[in-house]
């Protein structure tokens, strides 16, 4: 389970760069606490998927470590975001925000393929079962993560904003 902990270090470091333009232990720890829900939700989803099929002989800790290795695309994106927002002066952030956000679609799609292959290769699922695992994992990990992070803003801010953007209001 080294990689989930390394992911926390990573998340904390990016928060530190984004919030202050420098790396400090104070902000790394704070960011790691704030975003601890990310590995937690990921592990929760994986635990459910792990129990869905015939129990693999590999212990869950090692499975989890291997699963987190598939987060490389997200790490690349986070470092890029940390680079942009760590180096650009705060009052010049705005033009960069949407391009960086849109680039997040790349790891989103890339990680689907990585995880689908992971469920086949490590958990020994068929391509169809791996697809089911992928859906179950995303449903648990992403729903949980988004619900925790955005909270009530989903209903009062994100969805109305989306409706307005789509011309539904």
């Amino acid at each position: 389970m080294r990689r989930p902990l390394l992911l926390l270090l990573f998340l904390g470091s990016i928060v530190s760069l984004l919030a202050s333009g420098r790396l400090t232990v104070r902000l790394i720890v704070d960011g790691a606490i704030s975003f601890a829900f990310v590995p937690a939700c990921c592990l929760a989803g994986l635990a459910v998927v792990w129990r869905l099929g015939p129990r693999a002989t590999i212990p869950f800790g090692r499975v989890a470590d291997a699963f987190f290795a598939g987060l490389t695309p997200w790490l690349v994106w986070m470092v890029a975001a940390g680079g942009v927002f760590g180096l650009v002066p705060p009052r010049a952030f705005s033009p960069w925000f949407f391009p960086v956000l849109v680039c997040g679609a790349l790891p989103l799609v890339w990680s689907l393929r990585t995880d689908w292959l992971f469920f086949q290769g490590i958990l020994g699922r068929s391509p169809r079962q791996a697809l089911r695992d992928l859906v179950v994992h995303r449903a648990i990990a992403w729903t949980g993560g988004v619900a925790y992070f955005l909270g009530i803003a989903i209903w009062y801010d994100v969805l109305p904003g989306l409706a307005m953007t789509l011309g539904l209001r």
Partner: protein, 292 residues
């Protein structure tokens, strides 16, 4: 040395340089016209149920570093994390923390500052403002973009105490600055500058200078009610009470701290470069292990 170890060493170097650059600046209190001038940010979010990136106590420490004398922690329809921030700040002798809430309704956002309990977001803006006043606080229109205007009817406009006129959105588009100016022209409001800090950008990147009798929550709320504020928007344009704007002009550092990004120090640059290099190294190790 392996790539992993080099990466870790770089991260340690980055943290050491960051620690040197991170010390809070010592600032002498500013007094003008018999008032204490306080740098405040009245719209910030924590990471507990409010899509921020820093914990309630982390916000307090960061506010100190960004030279803020007062903050209002304004979670979405919640006040618990603001109370945690206030408790922590009192414990360490940090900035004055006011309990706040971003009253989040589908088509209007209102900042409540100086309250004690959650304000029901299903009310109209006018009723929300009345409830905020009953609790001894002030109600501020948050980033009043045109799409929110229909919710701010005459009754609402007559009850609001303040309106955000400087918000990070103005750095994206000068049109937003004009929209906020147009909104403020519809009533008599305290000019407010807020960062709407969620973790990106900096706390206090837009800030309000409050002319208060003293640095306390009650004195700050009194000053907001009396519209004793000065805010600097795009190109250093000042908003607020004309007499106070004239007073503030005698201290150019106020405008500078609100409109100019402080140049990064050498320690900042070392921290950034070493930190990014360390993180890239970690990704490489991560990737190599995948390939293995």
């Amino acid at each position: 040395m392996t790539v992993g170890r080099i990466s870790m060493v770089l991260l340690v170097v980055a943290c050491l340089a960051g620690w040197i650059a991170d010390r809070p600046a010592v600032r002498a209190p500013i007094e003008l016209g018999g008032y204490r001038v306080l740098a405040a940010d009245f719209h910030i979010h924590s990471s507990t149920w409010s899509d921020g990136a820093l914990t309630p106590w982390g916000l307090v420490l960061e506010a100190e570093r960004q030279g803020l004398d007062a903050i209002a922690v304004t979670a979405h329809n919640e006040v618990a994390d603001a109370k945690v921030s206030r408790w922590f700040s009192r414990l360490i002798g940090g900035p004055t923390v006011l309990v706040g809430q971003e009253i989040l309704a589908p088509y209007h956002h209102v900042i409540a500052v100086g309250i004690d309990r959650v304000v029901d977001s299903r009310l109209s803006v006018a009723d929300e403002a009345d409830e905020v006043h009953r609790q001894g606080g002030v109600a501020i229109a948050a980033h009043p973009l045109r799409s929110f205007w229909p919710s701010f009817d005459e009754a609402a406009l007559s009850r609001l105490d303040g309106a955000e006129i400087c918000h990070p959105l103005i750095h994206r588009s000068a049109d937003d600055q004009r929209t906020f100016e147009a909104f403020a022209a519809q009533g008599s409001f305290a000019a407010i500058g807020s960062s709407d800090f969620h973790g990106l950008s900096r706390l206090g990147v837009c800030r309000t200078f409050v002319f208060a009798r003293e640095n306390s929550a009650d004195a700050i709320v009194d000053a907001l009610r009396a519209h004793r504020t000065v805010v600097y928007g795009l190109d250093g344009q000042a908003y607020g009470d004309p007499a106070l704007i004239a007073l503030a002009a005698t201290r150019p550092e106020l405008r500078e701290s609100a409109t100019i990004d402080a140049p990064p120090s050498a320690a900042d640059w070392i921290s950034r470069i070493a930190g990014l290099a360390g993180l890239i190294g970690l990704v490489a190790v991560w990737r190599l292990r995948v390939m293995a």
